[in-house]
Assembly symmetry: C2
Homo-oligomer: 209 residues x 2
């Protein structure tokens, strides 16, 4: 698969010419539309994706109940696929593209060799582990303290920040799914947040203050 080196270079400024060259010959680029399931639960991973452009969200599931763990933005990668790719164990999470995205796919069996040869790649995965570790710690803390109103408010702020939009057009049902709760609860809590002046609900969507 001939991959245009110039296409990926702008997204990976830290990578050496040599590394980019290797990636160009052995990797591939995939464009995915919004809302596509990129990684399934229980799936074995043969290609490790790095998000070049767009936004991918990662979920865990436990008995019908789902929870958004974190987002993967540009030049970020999916730790679970890295981990699952290396140890040839199935994925415990699933990932969905939130926006149309461009993914760089690296063959899992090569990664082990590459991280030894290219410090930049090694660093990237260490940084990703780090980032996800702290994000999951945040998730645990917010679950531990409970408080649906706080969790929902933080969720909206994060979403607004990532999308760069002050007004979010999103269904209550989807919010509920991403927070692992019920739709009615979201409706109730949103009303409460509005009364507290933290948000405003219009026809256009939810505005975060």
């Amino acid at each position: 698969m001939p991959l245009d080196l110039a296409e990926i270079k702008p997204f990976l400024p830290d990578f050496s010419q040599e590394l980019l060259q290797v990636i160009a010959t052995e990797g591939s680029v995939m464009d995915v539309p919004a809302g596509m399931e990129i990684l399934k639960e229980g799936q074995y991973v043969r290609m490790i994706p790095i998000v070049l452009q767009g936004l991918v969200k990662v979920f865990t599931r436990v008995e019908e109940k789902e929870l958004l763990l974190y987002y993967i933005g540009s030049t970020q990668s999916c730790i679970m696929s890295f981990s699952a790719g290396l140890s040839q164990s199935p994925s415990r999470i699933f990932a969905i593209s939130e926006e149309a995205s461009m993914l760089l796919l690296l063959p899992a069996e090569k990664i082990n060799k590459w991280i030894r040869e290219f410090p930049a790649l090694n660093d990237l995965f260490f940084r990703q582990y780090n980032l996800r570790y702290t994000e999951m710690l945040d998730t645990i803390n917010s679950l531990l303290f409970g408080r649906m109103d706080q969790r929902l408010y933080q969720y909206l702020q994060e979403k607004s920040r990532l999308k760069g939009e002050k007004i979010l057009d999103i269904r209550h049902k989807q919010i509920a799914a991403e927070l692992g709760t019920a739709r009615e609860v979201v409706t109730r809590v949103l009303k409460k947040l509005e009364q507290e002046g933290k948000i405003r609900q219009t026809e256009a969507g939810i505005e975060i203050n």
Copy 2:
């Protein structure tokens, strides 16, 4: 600080002679009694510990409420201290020795160089990140599903497994602290588990079936 190479070698069979040599000259060994706070919340990390012998437990805290995240056993390390050491950011967790333990301390400012030079060390930290990632995912899932009885039962099983004892002599209060709940709740749920035949409570402690 002169460190006996022969002392640490048996615990680190995967490390090359050269790596052990470097560790021996630049690292140090510390013996800690049970119940000692090894890493405090908010603390900056200058030495990255690797547990050679014993057992260390890692907690998060959010407003007076604590939760046991995972245990660090022999030849395992603390990801948070690694991460905090590298990025010179303060620790967000705290760690306490569950048993008397022997720790190998590596200077944080050298680690970055060492993981490049010694693949065995690089691997160790990758494996640790991996392990903690999946453990934290388990924690999130159990918090998400709620169910105190399940969480408590799994906690007892894990504890029993790690200590190699079928009967645990432990205070209800401590269980409550490690699960982030209240003592009364633990008492109640233990009774329920006993009625279900999953455990037995005697004067000697709690027996897991």
